[in-house]
Amino acid sequence: MGFPLLFQPAQFNQDSCCCTKYLYGPFVHSNFSQVALRGFQTGAVSRDIDTAAKFIGAGAATVGVAGSGAGIGTVFGSLIIGYARPSTINPSLKQQLFSYAILGFALSEAMGLFCLMVAFLILFAM
């Protein structure tokens, strides 16, 4: 009806048409009654309460990455302490130690990235 006139995706996103389908979602059911009142729509996305809540949620969820930072720091600190000990028995223990340190780094990083992924899920999927 009035939709092709008022909801012009070209104003918002010129590059890829695949993203415009995400635009119709928050518009169609929330601003449906206010079609006649709103003069321009490009700023309306950020004014939408739903989008604002998503931003706040994503920002809050990103705090969990701090745990990953603490974990990685602990792992490599312990690696340095382990390296500094006089390893008279077996020099190849250093290779083992480093291998385990890399494993610990990857696991801790994974936890931080799980948290970041939840943040992205909140931002884009829910």
């Binding site: 996103n13 990857a106 696991l107 994974a110 990235l113 992924m117």
Partner: protein, 227 residues
Amino acid sequence: MMLNFFDQFMSPVLLGIPLIALALLLPWILFPNPAARWINNRLITLQGWSISQTTHQLFTPLNQGGHKWATLLISLMIFLISLNLLGLLPYTFTPTTQLSLNMAFAVPLWLATVIVGLRNQPTIALGHLLPEGTPLPLIPVLIIIETISLFIRPLALGVRLTANLTAGHLLIQLIATAVFVLLPLMPTVAILTASVLFLLTLLEVAVAMIQAYVFILLLSLYLQENV
């Protein structure tokens, strides 16, 4: 603008042909086969030496039954390392950013380790659900927790690889956009950001190799429990 940053992860299709098939076949042509000669050329000798070093390091803790898995796991590791490293080139699609691919690697391999354990040594495999020396009242809770931990493993394996690569690519794109936008306005800040971008790219190269290695290392650890 936010959604533009995720466009790089969309599976590319050209004229109806999914290009991810091409991206998955590319590592195959990068690693030459040994020729039918007594001693091969330098490249193949180096390749063989590095693969055998890695295999030795990964499979020494395992017993004979675990060594049967060496071909599968090492070839998977080479595949993942090459896919991850090729994805760091500009405008290249990284198949390992797709969760479907990583879960397709993680779930069958993890399930195979569990089934091998339950078939050949069911008592020992089930015994792993209870760590040694737990106090008697804690046993029911701990078994539930360990079972949950067991079932989270394939999910964690797949999501770890996906999330690491996706987050890395996203960060690179974000910081590169920041440098590009800042360059006409504040060149000094742009140069600082460009040095951050350089360090980040080095980190991403390391993470690309480490994550593939950790994927296989964890699978070999799960195999060690069960074989």
